[in-house]
Subunit: 161 residues, 2 copies
């Protein structure tokens, strides 16, 4: 039988120790959105404190309590990019199954329209539309580092190929 000791319970992260040795992180699940318009893909530039760097990533965010993944994706697209659209789930994956249960739901967004939202007060986000080749180059040269954006870039290249 597995024993579980809770070491920390926080706002988005909890930490537990299983069988006195396995460090497991519980983390809210998240959404990420591949928004497409006229052959370009939407990326946001923002400060990521965990790696102390500004990153280029597709829009993403945590699912709030009570929200469905689709509702979270619609909210994030509005908050971060002032957009709405037709959303479709294309992939879901565990970011790092070796120690953490965070699941990421990846959506495409097409037929975009203006849909202003209220950004989180702590977010300072720059929105960019990039060409496919710029995204693939960014994955190669290390400018694009997030797993969701890497997967989005690959899936997108597959669709185009």
């Amino acid at each position: 039988m597995t024993t579980t000791e809770t070491l920390y319970t926080g706002k988005i992260v909890s930490l537990e120790l299983q069988d006195s040795r396995w460090e497991i992180v519980r983390h809210a699940s998240a959404v990420a959105i591949v928004a497409l318009k006229e052959g370009k893909i939407l990326l946001v530039k923002q400060l990521r404190r965990a790696i102390n760097a500004h990153t280029l990533e597709i829009p993403a965010g945590l699912i709030d309590p009570g929200e469905t993944p689709l509702e979270a994706a619609q909210r994030e697209l509005s908050e971060e990019c002032n957009l709405g659209g037709s959303l479709e789930l294309i992939s879901r994956y565990i970011a790092s199954p070796g120690f953490c249960d965070e699941e990421i739901f990846l959506f495409t967004a097409t037929h975009l329209y203006e849909n202003p939202g209220t950004p989180d007060e702590d977010e300072d986000i720059e929105v960019l539309w990039l060409e496919p080749k710029t995204v693939l180059e960014g994955m190669k040269n290390g400018e694009i580092v997030g797993s969701s954006t890497t997967i989005a870039g690959c899936l997108w290249a597959l669709t185009l190929g």
Copy 2:
């Protein structure tokens, strides 16, 4: 100026609070290996305690202190699959940059040869060689869930396409 409070320091995970509000997880970086032979890709089936499920993933593991990513990839390939090969770094990414600094170095391994290693005593791993279409189907039906395997499957499909 950023203030940082360390809440927990563990074996593979540390937890800190930045500016009294941002929960940041520090985690050892990892490697994952896309081993290819005769048009098939190597996957391992193992229990992942964080999601309480057996997963199909490409071989992967943490980089030990003092190891280079390449050395870690060679060691994991030997320990988990009893194999050696020619390794090449093809991608690196942050699994979940919103809260954690874990970086994953993705290698291909070709020209494989027998190279028995000593598995971790706590690992119970089954090795499988799968066809490309089985991997892509597994990504669609939810049998394959890890980010490194998802990226590997996509990159591989791109190369084949």
